[in-house]
Symmetry: C2
Subunit: 902 residues, 2 copies
């Protein structure tokens, strides 16, 4: 094995001396071999060899039983596209040379009519993209070599079955012939032979089928099925390259925000067969439970089947533990390999294997996808097992996946009363409720129309990606824990129940039947992704209970991190929840929501409709006690921790009804002519409300609103202090663009604080910091001036992103999808902070602000405050804290720790 | 005269040793004396002494006959406000001491019953604000001293007339008693004495009038008219301070964008009287003609009148040249003083003088306001006269005033046929047409409703400021060239005809009668501010002809300036006009206007309504020849100069009709159901269109639009080249926010250019620069990246201002007035570039862009490109050119020169 002596290189993969002198135009090695005789790659080379190829090489080096093969690099795929979809010079020759190496190692000959070498051709990008890329098996079979396979195996039916599978796959994947065309021919043949299952068709029928398939191939491609195995191979390689840019592959990368890859590698590997008889089989497994993280060997296998049969979810496989009965020595060998791999990778693995006539072959290993709960448990367990350190554990948990742990589940009480109509596999945890949607398209449409739906399918395929993404949950009637639906759903943290075999789903009729009862698109079901239960109606949910391991991870995070984590909360209930999740205060308490409740909105509207200051003040006087009460509740829930209250921000028209009926109701309620209301609505109408009369501009033109709000804050603070509750309010003035704006409003705020204290006879010094949002580019640009009159800055990155890009969040969907698809933007800048543009403003404001006032407190309260990659940035530029929604507080704590460790 | 030996200090005015030890709390000298015995101030001290005070001191130093007096500094006014409207400590005493100095110099005694000293109290800020501030004359008269004045003058009627004027003015200005109250009493008295004119009332009546006035005073103030002259004085001083912040003064500063002043100074000066008989008189004059700039002594005087009578426009005065008949020696003395002042100040002066019993007194001199034409002529003449240099001339012309020279005037042909109903004074040049508005309020209202109106008044007063500002022109029936209407209108460059005595204007009845014919608010008149003619109906206008002096100034400017000047033009006609004004190319050619013409809009709408690319392309094919033709015309008009064409920018919905009727018409025209159009309009609706699907975002989603436009540009270029016309197109891609956006579209643009050249068989290299607008903050922030794929940047400062501030230009009026009023913003940032915020982005983008590409061409095409203060900034940050509307090109040329000279 040459690998072990070849010096390992990092992910940059500099050129190596090619072992066979076959390189591309730039001199880069195009193909890496792996096998017993030699192995050139290793697991660090995922960018170049793809995940699958790099790990096949690694396993090969570890001495595991891997069928030999070779990997065409992702760079070749990139060159293929760069040349306008042209196979690079020299590739064909290099492939042929590597086939010769394979022939030597396997002692078989490609295309031989005696003992033919057959290969699989599989895609494999640096990032795993389940089901997205095509593969072709049994390659190398021709009219001539099929006889060789008969001779070599002594199994004629198997040989022709393999040949017809090749023609079918090659026709479908390489030549674009519809799979249905082959199926139709097979169905006719089964009728002829009165066969129910494929396996009922006799050998003679299989030969006939090969001829019929070749005819289908000829009709649809206008040419004969290629009889040159090298031509088959090079065309299959090209097909893999092409599959990199199919719309579904592009879409998958979009949804998963995968960018910056070169292309896919191509793995050509000697075939082993799990379908040559009952001493054959195939399986996929995880080295630990990917749903809970428990340390158990977890997977599924099928006897006498090819690998694709497990993943495709056509037959429901058996739990891997049952291999102990079937082939105990193989099971033990697998357990040993599981340990070897885990010790080697120090990580939970997802493996594929095949048993050919009682001999085990490893076809794949990769880091296993898992739920957030599993990620946490596995990380903590690996620390206990001393395989990794605590800092490694912290760095390894994908913060985003913690959301799954924090999702509510169905309440046990409610579930006891629920009518369970079926139980499938608990494929991806969570609790989802919705009406039934029977196609992906329907799921997308109805979700956009505001419905909550469950996508209900016999099985899902990559074409269903959009619908799966939009649906509240996914329910399938066939397929196992590793089926397409299950894998994709787990990756997203979306609730999924798979393989609920009792269900009979008819997508055409749009019905689902179980136990004689029929459900349609109007029926509501609930699915429990943690138990696999399918229940009738909507079930009450309960708050999640957090595992011991979760608490451990949070504790470790808090030890490592330096960045504070606050929450955005507008109610005492939210404040309480966030505090339980570890929030260290409120970074954004929006006050406008407080005005929408039934008893308040009337006074708010009176205020807006008033055309003079005294009337406005009268209406505000009615709102004062409500606000005071709300603040008291929030201060109490956050006692001892800071609460940043943002003064009224949205434009006033948002509080008035816009449809005629509601306007008439309001008019009669307020005893004014409806025209008065319509006039006010019209007067408040703005062309671009985002850029209009809102934020501190309201406080400048209607200072009495600010005075009322500040009065409420101060009165609530004093009431708390009198009850010995440690209220720590901070007043935040939104949408400031100039120093004078803030200076003017700060003065009014300070005067009001003084006035209220005097009126209330409160003589202690009330130290209420007054700061501002930095959400207007000009504020960031002039942060040095603004800092002169601010005690703190809180970045409003939503608005800052809108203004820095000139994007209206409400309107962006007309062009954003196109921008993402064409990679003009790598990610939606409202999801992850745009570091080079918006981030520059943030950094500039931090520097300028701190230059003026070194003690200036800096935070961020836009939605980016809960986004992992953005949090890393906020740590880097030196913010004191991030503030995010309560459910994202644990994520922020974890990422803050990861940021420190980076 | 101590002044000449006192070392002069610059405008910073450091403290001097107070001559009398009377200083304010901070040790600053509060009062500056001027007179024959000593003079403490000089004309460099305008900030401290106000313009009037500084120049009185200066004239006094020059030995001109100035009545002695003293000036209370603007700092005292500021202290007054800082202390919450409290007269600063020590001021009363200091005033009294200075009165004693005056008594010594005049040999009169304040309040004396033998030979009383009378003084005037006048305001005077650093910037002249005509009519805005109040003054009180004859101060020092009491029941006792009025007898002294009788004794001293031997003219009892005069003395009591002076006393009743004081009571009236003091009551009005100091105590806020309505002037009408006094007038009513006077009217009753005139009836009693059967007097028609004031002058018909006998001495006895004047005494009676004083008593009656004192009674009015008592009734309205609740106290007696003060008999202590010092008390009169200090209260008058305080009234001047107060007048600084009356709403009309604040409004004047707003309109004229005057900010940063401390307050007003107060000038207390010994009275001289122009109304003591027929050997007395008063006048105001300019040392050159303020309308044309001609070097002639130009002004008006009234015999036996007080100064206010001339300015107030109550009596129509006589031309100053007639003084030659009335008092030839005084006239000669004035001519000598005119020369002295011009040689001293090296600038045209605006003077006020009074003749008391044949002795001339100078009451004021200041730099005279003038029209743009006059400014140009005077500057050029002063250079010929070797009083100033060419660089001084260039620096002295207020660039903004050039607009007046470039305004169209009525065509001579049309005027020959016009019906002239009256001829007034040519008070402020220009040509205005409009319906008649009889009050300022009406003028404001109707202008806002979209009408064009002329404000028609007997005379105007400061209360009319708003209406004067809004009206297209101003017409008065009384008052001279120096009346309020005339001075204000000239300052603004607004067309004004004053003192058209034939007109009888009745504001109550809303009629204007002349020659028995009555005009109402529905009638349209035209006024010619250059000739004073008032004409019936709308008169055709013609382009302005530019004077030789104007050409000289432009020539000098071009010699000095380094900044290029281009124009924003969308048509060949505009391009031609701008070129005549000296534009060096087109900096912004908007293409969207080309789609609105009748024959094009249909194809444009077809394009928008198409729901697939082929249909869209078909519609675009129809638009192509129009665009090609437009571009050819523009290239031809600008042959040899660059033409920057901006690709389609506005959101598509702007091209669709929004009202139902037009939608129905369009539907039947296009033969589609109206619902289809409504659906498309609804689909294109955006919450914030400013931040929506527009600019290059359109080109990303509909690349075929870009392809059509670029095709048209290239075809037009080739057509020109074939005709030997030197077309120099530059393609500008709008609203770019990221490098990838521009890179993607640049690639498509380059490919299209190549394709068209190939299709047209054009083999020469077409070198068309491709650049972008910098109008999105993110573009400025990442200009280094964007510059990699841009040949030029053009700053779109309109959008950049919108986004940097988060202000929608369409909606800003709901709060901008309040922001200006409260000085949260000093100026409308859409008028003058906000240097510290938006300017920072501009500067940053220049630096970053040039760092990447030192040859990067930088320009600006937002409306700030024609704003003088913004142009200075653009010069400073190193832009290559500014681009502005054709009429502003000369202004930009001049300012560009001024920028170089700064």
């Amino acid at each position: 094995m040459t690998t072990m002596t070849t010096p390992r290189t990092g992910p940059n993969e500099p050129d190596r001396t090619p072992h066979d002198g076959k390189s591309d135009a730039a001199g880069s090695k195009m193909i890496y071999y792996f096998g017993k005789s030699q192995t050139e790659g290793d697991s660090s080379q995922k960018q170049l060899l793809g995940g699958k190829g790099a790990n096949l090489a690694e396993m090969s080096s570890l001495g595991l039983p891997v069928p030999p093969g070779f990997t065409i690099t992702t760079q070749v795929c990139a060159s293929y596209y760069a040349a306008g979809k042209k196979v690079p010079d020299g590739l064909t020759e290099s492939v042929a040379e590597h086939i010769r190496l394979l022939e030597q190692e396997t002692d078989k000959t490609f295309g031989s009519n005696e003992n033919p070498l057959l290969v699989s051709v599989r895609s494999g990008a640096a990032v795993s993209m389940p089901g997205m890329m095509n593969s072709v098996l049994n390659l190398g079979l021709t009219d001539q070599s099929v006889d060789g396979l008969v001779q070599a195996t002594g199994n004629e039916r198997f040989a022709y079955d393999a040949y017809r599978r090749l023609i079918n796959m090659f026709g479908d994947v390489v030549m674009g012939t519809d799979h249905e065309q082959f199926e139709a021919v097979f169905d006719r043949l089964k009728t002829k032979y009165k066969a129910v299952l494929d396996t009922d068709v006799p050998t003679e029928g299989m030969r006939e089928l090969c001829d019929a398939y070749k005819e289908v191939y000829r009709q649809h491609t206008g040419e004969d099925f290629p009889q040159d195995p090298y031509q088959q191979l090079i065309r299959a390689v090209e097909a893999v390259f092409k599959s990199w840019n199919t719309s579904r592959a592009v879409r998958y990368r979009e949804i998963n925000q995968i960018a910056g890859l070169k292309g896919t590698a191509v793995n050509v590997q000697a075939m082993v067969f799990g379908n040559m008889g009952d001493d054959c089989g195939t399986g996929v497994a995880f080295t630990r439970n990917p749903s809970t993280g428990e340390n158990e060997f977890y997977g599924e296998f099928l006897v006498n089947a090819q690998g694709e049969d497990v993943v495709a979810g056509i037959r429901t496989p058996r739990p891997v533990i049952e291999m102990r009965q079937w082939k105990p020595e193989i099971y033990d060998q697998l357990l040993t390999i599981k340990d070897t791999l885990e010790r080697h990778y120090r990580e939970m693995q997802d493996i594929e294997f095949t048993v050919e006539h009682g001999e085990l072959f490893m076809l794949q290993t990769r880091t296993g996808k898992r739920t957030g709960a599993a990620a946490v448990t596995i990380a903590v367990d690996l620390v206990s097992e001393e395989l990794i350190t605590r800092t490694q554990a912290i760095q390894r948990i994908p913060a985003e996946d913690l959301t799954q742990l924090l999702l509510p589940s169905f309440s046990e009480d409610a579930k006891r009363k629920a009518q369970v109509i079926a139980t499938g596999l608990p494929a991806s945890p969570g609790a989802a409720t919705g009406k039934l949607a029977f196609t992906a398209r329907e799921a997308v449409q109805r979700t956009h129309d505001g419905e909550q739906v469950l996508l209900v399918r016999k099985t899902t395929s990559p074409e269903d990606i959009d619908g799966m993404n939009e649906a509240a949950g996914i329910l399938t009637s066939t397929g196992g824990m590793t089926s397409h639906a299950a894998v994709v759903a787990r990756g997203w943290g979306k609730c999924c129940v798979a393989g609920a075999g009792e269900l009979h789903i008819d997508a055409n009729k749009r019905t689902m039947t179980v136990d004689g009862k029929t459900f349609t698109h109007t029926d509501v079901l609930s699915i429990d992704g943690a138990t696999g239960e399918v229940m009738v109606g909507e079930i009450e949910r309960s708050e999640p209970t957090l595992s011991r391991e979760f608490e451990t991870v949070m504790q470790w995070s808090d030890e490592f991190r330096t960045l504070g984590v606050r929450t955005n909360a507008d109610t005492p209930a939210d404040a309480k929840r966030a505090r339980e999740f570890g929030a260290q205060g409120i970074g954004l308490c929006r006050t406008e929501h407080m005005f929408f409740e039934a008893d308040r909105i009337t006074a708010m509207r009176e205020m807006i409709l008033a055309d003079n200051e005294p009337d406005r003040k009268r209406a505000l006087d009615k709102l004062l006690p409500y606000q005071q009460h709300d603040f008291e509740g929030i201060f109490t829930a956050m006692a001892g921790l800071p609460v940043t209250i943002r003064l009224l921000d949205p434009p006033l028209h948002e509080f008035l009804p816009h449809d005629e009926k509601s306007q008439e109701e309001l008019a009669s309620e307020m005893n004014v002519p409806v025209q008065a209301i319509q006039q006010r609505v019209a007067a408040l109408h703005e062309m671009n409300p985002m850029l209009g009369h809102r934020g501190c501009r309201l406080a400048v033109t209607y200072p009495e609103i600010l005075v009322m709000q500040v009065t409420a804050i101060v009165e609530a603070t004093i009431a708390c202090k009198n009850k010995k509750v440690d209220a720590q309010p901070e007043i935040m003035i939104p949408l400031v663009g100039t120093r004078t704006e803030l200076a003017t409003l700060r003065e009014l705020t300070e005067r009001t604080i003084e006035d209220v204290c005097k009126a209330k006879g409160y003589t202690d010094k009330l130290d209420i910091p007054i700061g501002t949002m930095i959400e207007i580019p000009r504020a960031a640009l002039t942060a040095d001036e603004i800092a002169e009159v601010a005690d703190f800055f809180s970045f409003g990155t939503n608005d800052l992103t809108q203004l820095a890009f000139g994007f209206s969040r409400d309107d962006i969907n007309t062009f954003l999808p196109e921008y993402l698809k064409r990679e003009i933007l790598e990610v939606d800048p409202f999801q992850s902070l745009d570091e080079s543009g918006v981030g520059q403003l943030v950094e500039m404001a931090c520097e300028k602000g701190r230059k003026t006032k070194p003690t200036l407190k800096l935070g961020i309260c836009g939605e980016h405050g809960g986004d992992p990659s953005s949090i890393l940035f906020f740590h880097k530029v030196g913010l004191d804290y991030v503030s995010c929604s309560p459910f994202r507080v644990p994520i922020a704590r974890l990422v803050a720790a990861q940021a420190t460790l980076q």
